[in-house]
């Protein structure tokens, strides 16, 4: 098992044990995600496996209920706006901060990254108190602003990683050939780092689409997002329609993750 030829029997045995352990952990990581899929297609309203009779009734329930539909629409609009705003701000910041002449890089980075670190409940309560005074609670704008702050660090981290592989000489060559700064950015640099920028945008979209706690505090019935609807549903009484919603969210995550992998493979 991937050991050099001189490995002793003891090493082979311990390698076997470690590998088996690692495989068990990997199964532990992945299996719970896929338990919800068969349950969402079960005819019975119980959460037991194996499924005795298959049915699409919970999906019918889901798509016929205006609350779930409103949730999907709200989540999509919020996440798209957040992704656009966060990608713009984050990409610019990543390019600036990686410039060799940028002062106070460590401090600026620590500030920009901190929304990833601060407990989400503190962000939610702070936003609830502050946005409440500005009249931004129960508005979509308030939610987009709060989500963008949470998503910017993800864009910065992703784009910064891509920029580390970008050859600065390309920009310098373009400059020496007379390209003005904006053309240098849009026609030389951006095409090179585009996969990273799009990955950052996908991250930002996912952060906003999956976020529950801030949305719970900042939205009223009209702006309710899909995860908020799900959370209240589980708190109330868990039902199979929530399994259908969870399966759809899982499918979306796999789709986004797949897109991201295609993008990063190409670079």
């Amino acid at each position: 098992m991937w050991l050099p030829t001189y490995a002793t029997p003891f090493e082979r045995a311990s390698r076997f044990i470690v590998l088996s352990f690692a495989i068990c952990v990997l199964l532990f990581l992945i299996a719970p995600l896929f338990v919800i899929v068969p349950l969402s297609f079960s005819h019975d309203p119980f959460f037991t496996l194996p499924v005795k009779q298959w049915s699409l009734r919970w999906y019918a329930d889901f798509f016929e209920n205006p609350r779930w539909i409103t949730g999907i629409i709200n989540s999509t609009v919020t996440a798209t706006s957040t992704a656009i705003l966060a990608t713009t701000l984050g990409t610019l910041a990543a390019i600036g901060i990686t410039h060799p002449a940028f002062p106070f890089r460590k401090a600026a980075m620590a500030v920009l990254i901190s929304p990833m670190i601060v407990p989400i409940m503190i962000v939610a309560v702070g936003s609830y108190l502050f946005y409440g005074e500005l009249g931004l609670t129960n508005t979509r704008l308030g939610l987009v602003l709060a989500h963008t702050a949470l998503a910017v660090p993800f864009v910065i981290v992703t784009v910064t990683a891509t920029l580390s592989t970008y050859d600065g000489n390309l920009s310098r060559a373009a400059a020496s050939l007379g390209a003005p700064p904006l053309s240098r950015f849009f026609r030389v640099m951006l095409p090179q780092i585009l996969p990273g920028v799009v990955s950052g945008g996908i991250f930002a979209f996912a952060v906003s689409f999956d976020e529950v706690v801030v949305a719970l505090f900042l939205t009223g019935a009209e702006q309710r997002t899909l995860p908020v609807q799900m959370f209240s549903g589980i708190r109330d009484q868990i039902n199979p329609t929530i399994m259908a919603a969870a399966t759809l969210l899982l499918a979306l995550s796999i789709l986004l993750f797949g897109t991201l992998n295609l993008l990063t493979r190409r670079t």
Binding site: F28, I97, A101, A108, P115, I117, I122, L129, E133, F231
Partner: protein, 414 residues
């Protein structure tokens, strides 16, 4: 030669350095200009709300602005005897005004945090105060003998200030007695240090579990051939991409008393009766461990990947037995990754809300869950903010440790 260069360098250094700096200035200014929008945005939409939360944890306007005349009169009060007639007359005027502007309830609610029963005393008296006539002291005492208790007066006098440490002290189970000395809260109200301890304990347990489960996975990721390693990596990253709520939902379903895990345990004859798994500490830590595992694995893996395989080989060829070679040569080199991964998981675990709320029982609720309860159910925003300040302080302390030991650039997203 070297001295010549040195002296030459020294004499020419300043103008050259200035020239270089001047040449670089436009690029540097552009770089700063590009970061400013994001910085401003994060400061306004993220840092200002947190400052607002911190301010709310010490704000105390209710009593000072609700009973302004009483406050002036209480300045001459000796602090332990019954106040004199002019204080009662001022209170009568203040309460009458409070009743007319319907603010008596909020003053009463605020005083009630420090003296149980103050709310009904205040609201009840405010309702009838317009019928009072001098001497006011007798009228108040006739209405309710509780007005004769100096304690309520010392609480009113203490809340003259518009800023108070009261909520922050309450968040760590401290309070002030009538003389203003700090003392610990009575046992039946002293629950918040316990909640903080529980939050730290759960986060620590989750961190330890992810390390024990994750370290071998990270190691095998570096050992497996590229194609298998890519598949293993996929199994680590996909859960990371799945929404936290979906993963928690999966655990809510799995841990049900008539759910899949109990089915398996009974099927394997490991247990005769169905176990209570949901709404337990075990269930909470299990679900949180599942959610946090990738955050611990990724930094460890990225450090392990940089350790040359030749180190172990050299150790073996010099006669080290396999276990010694691993523990003394390999493991110490993985410590930066272990530190980064564990601190990351610990920090993130401190702030959990969704998972304890859905998978945990009443005894497993963490600080965030109490904050939410105080905002939504008890409508005590100041105290919720104070609990938030405590949580923020603990988190930032550990984040500081993370920045010192690992650095912000160690944050990995796969």
């Amino acid at each position: 030669m070297s001295t010549a260069t040195l002296s030459l360098g020294r004499s020419a250094a300043m103008p050259l350095r200035q020239a270089v700096r001047r040449a670089e200035r436009p690029a540097r200014n552009l770089a700063v200009l590009m970061v400013v929008p994001a910085l401003l945005f994060v400061i306004i939409t993220f840092f200002v709300p947190i400052l607002k939360l911190l301010a709310t944890s010490v704000q105390n306007p209710e009593v000072a602005s609700g009973l302004p005349q009483t406050m002036i009169m209480l300045k001459d009060w000796d602090g332990h005897s019954l106040p004199d007639e002019k204080v009662f007359a001022a209170l009568a005027a203040d309460l009458d005004a409070a009743h007319k502007t319907s603010s008596a309830a909020s003053i009463g609610k605020r005083l009630n945090y420090e003296i149980p029963g103050a709310r009904s005393l205040l609201v009840g008296t405010a309702r009838v105060v317009s019928a009072f006539s001098p001497p006011y002291r007798e009228a108040f005492l006739a209405r309710d003998a509780a007005w004769g208790n100096p304690e309520i007066w010392s609480v009113i006098a203490r809340n003259e200030s518009r800023l108070t440490p009261f909520y922050l002290m309450q968040a760590v189970d401290l309070r002030q007695d009538a003389e203003g000395h700090l003392q610990s809260a009575p046992a039946d109200e002293a629950i918040f240090l316990d909640v903080l301890g529980r939050t730290l304990a759960v986060a620590g347990l989750v961190t330890l579990s992810t390390l024990i489960l994750g370290y071998p996975v990270a190691y095998m990721l570096t050992q497996a051939p590229a194609r298998i390693a890519a598949l293993m990596m996929l199994m680590v990253l996909l859960p990371l991409w799945t929404s936290l709520l979906v993963r928690t939902t999966a655990w809510v379903v799995l841990l049900q008393t008539d759910g899949v895990i109990n089915d398996i345990l009974i099927g394997l004859h490991l247990t005769a009766e169905r176990l209570q798994l949901i709404f337990t500490r075990f269930g909470t830590v299990l679900a949180m461990t599942h959610i946090q595992l990738p955050f611990t694995i990724l930094p460890i893996y990225s450090v392990m990947r940089t350790i040359p395989a030749t180190h172990l080989r050299a150790a073996r060829s010099l006669g080290a037995p396999p276990v010694a070679a691993f523990w003394r040569i390999y493991a110490p080199q993985t410590i930066p990754g272990v530190t980064a991964g564990c601190l990351m998981t610990f920090i993130l675990s401190l702030g959990y809300y969704i998972t304890p709320a859905l998978v945990g029982g009443p005894r497993d609720q963490m600080l965030s869950n109490f904050i939410s309860t105080y905002i939504n159910r008890d409508l005590n925003w100041n105290f919720a903010a104070a609990l938030g300040a405590v949580l923020l302080l603990v988190t930032l302390g550990i984040y500081g440790l993370f920045l010192k030991l690992a650095g912000a650039d160690k944050i990995k997203l796969g």
